[in-house]
């Protein structure tokens, strides 16, 4: 059943302060809407339970990328196009720039936002494994002030997050210390654009003296939340990449993920692809080390 616009309220305050004041007046009553690529889909399907919406599209405080000496701060309402086209993001955070380029088609990249991807909290979101690999931190804002927390801790379960009812994600902070890392990302889906992934990976690594000095591996669509493979990372650290360590990595990764059967894929396929993605990353990392 299609929704009737007469049943909904939508306001567009001119400042971030006004938005958080509104959220504080009636916590949980107002649903923020930025580019609408999730919210309007639910609305059109008659499945949007919120009746009061507050637009945060184009709020200047949320639509900028600040480049500081030790980190970049990406405003939560920056679009995928903003990310793809930003020089520092492209150079220093290629995993994020690549994921932004896979997300939907061009029209959705022009409207979909990084903050929306985070708050919508789909385990299949393309950009979220990159945030895990880069050790992102979030700045959350409310009338009570700002707080900062590691992105790793933000998702607490399937579509559940630590965002309080009166809070908004203001910015995503990425530390500028991954420039020299080898990076690898791949999405496995039915089609490149407009297809949600069956499994995807974002990974960073460094080799030294023929061994893995550091590996940072994150996967999407293989658990209720975007997942960092901490055990697999530990298992390969200090090791040279050979068939036995690849077998260990596959096995450890298989134990860390919790894939499901759904309309896009199966447990068996996802488990197999997850192992392949981790192994492919390690093989390419090893080759990059040999060249360096």
């Amino acid at each position: 059943m299609r929704s009737d616009p007469a049943d909904y309220q939508l306001v567009a305050p001119a400042s971030l302060r006004a938005v958080v004041s509104l959220l504080a007046e009636e916590p949980g009553a107002w649903l923020p809407i930025a580019g609408g690529t999730d919210v309007m889909v639910q609305y059109a399907a008659g499945k949007l339970s919120a009746r009061k919406l507050v637009s945060i599209w184009n709020l200047p405080e949320l639509r900028r990328i600040e480049v500081l000496s030790d980190e970049i701060r990406i405003g939560a309402a920056c679009t995928y196009t903003d990310l793809r086209e930003h020089e520092v993001v492209k150079l220093e955070f290629p995993l994020l720039a690549s994921a932004a380029g896979w997300t939907g088609g061009i029209a959705n990249q022009n409207r979909g936002t990084l903050g929306g991807n985070i708050v919508n909290a789909s385990p299949a979101a393309d950009s979220l494994p990159a945030l895990l690999a880069y050790e992102a931190e979030l700045i959350l804002v409310s009338v009570r002030g700002e707080r900062r927390l590691p992105y790793l801790d933000f998702h607490t379960g399937y579509k559940k997050t630590k965002l309080a009812a009166d809070e908004l994600v203001q910015a995503v902070c990425l530390p500028r210390r991954f420039l020299g890392y080898f990076s690898y990302t791949r999405k496995v889906g039915a089609r490149n654009a407009q297809a949600i992934s069956k499994a995807c990976i974002a990974a960073l690594g460094r080799m030294s003296g023929g061994v893995v000095q550091e590996a940072r591996i994150a996967l999407g669509s293989v658990a209720p939340v975007p997942l960092r493979l901490a055990e697999t990372e530990r298992a390969v650290k200090g090791k040279s990449v050979d068939p036995s360590i690849l077998a260990v990595a596959r096995k450890t990764a298989a134990a860390e993920i919790r894939p499901i059967d759904d309309i896009r894929s199966t447990v068996r396929y996802r488990s197999s692809v997850a192992g392949n993605l981790v192994a492919e990353f390690l093989e390419k990392l090893s080759i990059s080390g040999a060249k360096a």
Binding site: P5, S21, Y43, A44, L53, N58, G104, I106, A107, N108
Partner: protein, 165 residues
């Protein structure tokens, strides 16, 4: 600036569409697509899927390609909108429209307005696109008739014609 008079009642807002300023009273959550089609009689943008997958409702908003089915009209306040009706100058078709005709880039026509706007958005950014650029630029627009090849050829030809004129 929370405006309580906006509560579940129509609001007056304006935007520019195809160069003309329009002012109307609409519910703020009305989809831009519906405003264009029902209030303004611009039926070039089509509703295909209604969920941002098919691109048949594509328009340009402040120069950016967007799916008008996913935009609450309040967010289009004061924007500059271009629809397929705005591409031709009178009876003079744009280079893209001519190329689509010449190369059989349209069959049933439902996807065509969106395809042409997506192609226009692409050529504005990449005047000499590769076939991969064309595929990516149109990847959010689905066609169930042509198999895409004629469409890609039409866009490539339009780029060549633009370059030589």
């Amino acid at each position: 600036m929370t405006d309580s008079v906006e509560n579940r009642s129509p609001v007056e807002l304006s935007f520019t569409v195809n160069g003309e300023r329009k002012t109307m009273r609409v519910y703020p959550m009305e989809r831009l697509l519906d405003t264009l089609r029902h209030h303004l009689g611009l039926t070039g943008a089509k509703e295909g899927c209604g969920e941002g997958e098919c691109g048949s409702c594509s328009v340009l908003m402040n120069g950016a390609l967007v799916n008008s089915c996913l935009i609450p009209v309040l967010q289009a306040r004061d924007a500059n909108i271009v629809t397929i009706e705005g591409l031709a100058a009178g009876t003079q078709l744009s280079a893209l429209q001519e190329a689509f005709l010449d190369f059989g880039g349209a069959q049933c026509g439902i996807c065509t307005p969106g395809m042409i706007l997506a192609a226009s958005h692409l050529l504005d950014r990449k005047p000499e696109p590769t076939i991969e650029d064309i595929r990516e630029g149109l990847s959010g627009n689905l066609c169930r008739c042509t198999g895409y090849i004629q469409i890609f050829e039409a866009v490539a030809e339009a780029a060549r014609r633009r370059a030589t004129t």
